[in-house]
Each structure stands twice: as C-alpha cells, then as structure tokens.
Amino acid sequence: MKKNTGFIPDETYLKDIDAAALSGGLFEPLPSEEKQTDVINRPSVSYWENARAKLKADPLAMGGFMIIAIMIALAVFGPMMRPYAYDEQNYSIANQTPSADHWFGTDKFGRDLFVRVAYGARISLTVGMAAAAINMAVGVIYGGISGFVGGRTDMLMMRIVDIIMAVPSLLYIILVMVFLGAHMHSIIIALCFTYWLGTARIVRAQILSIKSQDFVLAAKVIGETDSKILFRHLIPNSMGPIIVTVTFLIPQAIFYEAFLSFIGIGIAVPVASWGTLANDSLSNMNTYPHLMLFPALAISLTIFAFNFIGDGLRDALDPRLKR
C-alpha cells in the first residue's frame, strides 16, 4: 500500500476523552434535536442548474463558446470593418502578404482575404446552424414518433431509416448537389436529405429507454394521458442527449460545406467560402502560404470549438447525476 500513502490525510478523531471530562455530563442522554439525521445539507440543484455549473467549470467548453462568439462577430461585422467588397478585384495589389491595409493579405485577383474569410464565416455558420436546426426538427419528430408510438409504425419507420442509412450519406449529398447546382441553399438541402437519420435514431433510443422507466408507469397510474406523458416526462428527460447530438451536427455540416466547396461542387466562385478559399490557395501554395493559412485556421478553429462545446455539453448533461 506504499503507493498511495500520504496522498489522503488520515481522519482525525477522538478515541478517548480524559477521565476528568467524564463528570461534565457526557453521559447524559443526547437530546433528539442534536441528532442529525435525514437532513440534507447540500443546496438543492435542478438538473439544468447543475449542468450550467458544470459547463461553466469546463475551460475547454468555455473557450469553445468564446471562439464561436468571435466567429459570429466576424461573420456579422467583419465585412463592414474593411472598405473592400468580397469580389472586388484589383490586380495591382495581387498576392500581397498581410499588412495594415489588408490584414490577411490579398489573393491572386487582389481581393482582400480578410473580407473573404469573414464572408466564409457567414456561409459556414449559416450552413452549420441551418442544417443542424432543420435536422434536429426532422430527427426529433421522426424519432420521437417512432419511439413513442412503437409497434408496427416504429418497425416500418426504422426499416426506412435502415434502408437509407445503408448507403453512405456523402453519395446522396453529392447527388443532390449535382441535381440542385452549386449554391449555399443546395448544400443545406443536400445535408437535410440524410442528416437527420442519426438524430432520429438517437431520439428514438432515448424515448424508448425513458419509456421503460418506472416513472412513466407511475404517470400512467395517476392517470396522465399519453400526450401529457410525452411533454412532461419523455421530452424533458431526452433533451440532454438531443442537445449534445445537435451540437455535434453543426461542425459536421460546416465540414461538409468546406469539403464540397473544396472538391469543387459546393459553393461556386466568386462567392467566398472557407472551402473555396482553401481550394483557390492550392495553385501557388508554395509561394503564398498565407492564402492557405487563414481559411484553414478558420475552419479548424470553428470545428474545434464546436467539438469542445459538444464534449463539454455531453459531460454536463450526463443523465447520471452525481448523488
């Protein structure tokens, strides 16, 4: 036991009280007010309060929130901060390195990179949030119905999910992109095609596991109707995992947008997206690496931040509350 000795200090306690103290009424009965039992000393905290406290104590998640706040600020105000338009070409200042005039430098057409990255933030964040929001709605409704109704409906609905899911979603996404053409809204629509499947499965599993818990039976016993049970018990209890899932959907959507733009079927030039910026920088990466650096940094930091937030939320919203 040498290993841990000294790591936890020993408990200190009185083993004997010296004889003189014996006279001091120590052997009088202890009044019942002084018996401390069934008393809870800790302050009362609800699940959500507890989660918020845990999240606040998580430096990575808080850092993630800060990065996202900065990115949102960049998306909203960035283009206004500089006197250039994202598609304003000026060959006399092509391929400049970062300077006071052009914070992130300029590209081969002399377009200001800072403004273009800020525009990219608009596209990426819009795609991420919109796709996540739509998919959460579809996934929660589909999975919720499937899990709540159960039986044959559930079986049929899940069969459909299985059939679509057997094929990698990227194939569907690319097909929809080919069909709709290279626009931001087509990326969102393409993502919506298959993206909700995972959410639906998770929501269904959540609903099923909560449905089997005794407190749902207890609600039935006191006479609560099905819809009441759904809104008072099932939804509040499955909110945690749903939020976590959706948080992870956002970075995935941002990744797909960048990926599609990078391989040339996402957003079409001259509109700037982080993926297209990265793709543009390829041709003279050796001479002008900064053209690569800024969009790459923006994508990675954003996805990083969302992943950290997701991890933090997962820990904070863990249904297994400490007792």
């Binding site: 094929v167 080919v178 040339g264 690569m292």
Partner: protein, 308 residues
C-alpha cells in the same frame, strides 16, 4: 449462418434498389441532357441525335430505367457520356486497384495506431500519453482532411522535399495519402478504444480475474483488449464510408488514378452515367463490407449466435 447472410443480402438488395432508383431519376431530372444542343455547342445536331439514340436517351424515361436495370443485372453499367470510348465498368476496374490499395493501407494504419494509442491512454489515464492522444484525437476529428493533406504536402513535399508531391506508383507516393486518409479514423479509433477500454476495466469480471492472481499484463491483454475491441470492430463498417469521403480529396489532390478521382471529375463534368455507375458500385461495395464486418463480429463474440 447461410440464412442470416441471405437475409442480409436481401435487405442490402432493397437498399440498393432505392439507391439506384433515386440516383437514376435524379440524374435524369437534371435540366439539360448530356447530348442536348445546349450542352454540346460545337457538335452538329444530327450527330447529337445519333448519340442520343445510341445511348437510348430518346426513349421515355421509364423505358430507359428498365433498360438500365436490365443491364445492371448483367453487370453492365453502360458508357461514359464524356469519355466516349470508355464503359463505366472499364473506369471502375481501372480505378479500383489504386483506391483499394490506398484505402486498405489506411485502414490497417489507422487500426495499428489507434488501438494501441487508445489502450495506453486508457491504462495511463490522466498521464501525458493520455493527454497527448486525446489532443491528437480532437485535432483529428476537427481538422478537415483536405487541410491535413495540404499541410502534409506543404511540409514534407514542398519545404522538406523528402516525399513526392503527387503521383502514384512507388511506396513513397503512398506515404502522405495513407496518413491523410488514416488521420481522422485514428482519432475516432483512439477515442473509441479508450472509452471502451475504460468501460471494460470497470467490469466485474476484470476484478474477478485479478482476484484469481492473473498477472496484470495478462488481465489487460487477454480479457481487457479482447472485450474492448468489439466496438472497434463494429466501427470498421462506417470507417469504410469515411475513407470514401477522404478518397475524393486525397485522390484528387495527389493525382492517384482511383475511382474517387474519376468520380469527382465525373461530378464536375456532369458525366451522369459515370456518376450513376460509380454511386451504385460504392453502395454495393460498402454494403458488402458492412456485411462482412458483421459476420466477423459474430465470430468474435460468442454471445451473438446465428439462428437458422
């Protein structure tokens, strides 16, 4: 067992039918057919008409669909609309070897790195190895593959100049593409292996085995690893799909003559028959792989029994 596989194949058949049908009609609903005058300005209209009838494009869509399905059953995916002398089958057979080599190497590499990394970080929880592999895992999950690819290319090929920038043929050509492809799978496998190992180490049977005096190394190697590797096995199915995404970037960026590159080219050139053909091929291939993985799982885990 045979019955199980047949059942799975039947289910895969349904998924394929949905995919083929959806793809077919989607591709035919795209405005502007490949040989319409709008698309091919410098070809005389008469030639276009001939081409259209040669490819059966002048028939009603449902007839084209039936023809296509008929051909598909005979393993014939039709002609490319752009590379006019090639059949889609030829494109796939010429691209498959390169894609398969890079993909298989990436899977092996990802497993070979991710599993030990996950195990050590679980065993030395909170130590520097754990810290390092968790950072690696987060980076791997957060950095898009094309950024990793560009970074590696920039450092090793352009600055250090120790590896070729692109191409295919020698072993040194494979290094960066395989690392790129394996990067995010390594991250996933490390995370998965770590959490699964931690979970297994908490199990009663691990304590029981220790209580029998089995040396720690054997407890970990015999009981810990085998139990915790099961989720990793189930991950191999989705892993193949992830590699597919990666292969589009890697094959394009490093000029590897694989299916992924043909596919991306076909997409940007709107070569519908190739898109259709390769999509079907990918779908079938991945479903086959998933089936094989599931069968392998059932062999590893005695609790899973085939009933027939």
């Amino acid at each position: 067992m045979a019955k199980y596989i047949l059942k799975r194949l039947a289910a895969a058949g349904i998924s394929m039918l949905v995919l083929v049908t959806a793809t077919f009609f989607l591709m035919h609903a795209v405005p502007g057919s490949p040989f319409s005058p709008g698309e091919q300005r410098n070809v005389p209209p008469k030639v276009l008409e001939n081409l259209r009838s040669k490819y059966g494009l002048d028939l009603p869509v449902w007839k084209q669909y039936l023809n296509y399905m008929d051909n598909l059953f005979h393993g014939n995916l039709g002609y490319s609309f752009k590379k006019l002398n090639y059949t889609v089958n030829e494109l796939i057979t010429s691209g498959f070897p390169a894609s398969a080599v890079v993909g298989a190497l990436a899977i092996l590499f990802a497993l070979a790195v991710g599993i030990p990394l996950g195990i050590t970080s679980a065993l030395k929880r909170g130590g520097w190895m754990d810290w390092f592999s968790m950072i690696l895992a987060t980076v791997g999950i957060s950095m898009p593959i094309f950024i990793i690819a560009i970074l590696l290319m920039f450092v090793f090929s352009m600055k250090l100049q120790i590896l070729p920038i692109y191409g295919y043929g020698t072993a040194s050509h494979l290094v960066i593409p395989v690392i790129c492809l394996a990067f995010s799978p390594i991250a996933y496998i490390t995370r998965l292996m770590r959490s699964s190992m931690l979970e297994v180490l908490r199990q009663d049977y691990i304590r029981s085995t220790r209580a029998r005096g089995v040396p720690e190394l054997m407890v970990i190697a015999k009981h810990g690893v085998r139990n915790s590797i099961l989720p990793v096995v189930t991950y191999i199915g989705p892993l193949i799909a992830i590699l597919l995404t990666g292969s589009f970037v890697v094959e394009r960026l490093f000029m590897i003559p694989g299916i992924g590159r043909y596919f991306v080219t076909a997409v940007s050139e709107r070569d519908y028959s190739v898109i259709l053909g390769i999509t079907i091929f990918y779908g079938a291939f991945i479903m086959l792989c998933t089936l094989l993985v599931d069968v392998a799982y059932a062999i590893i885990d005695p609790r899973v029994k085939f009933t027939d």
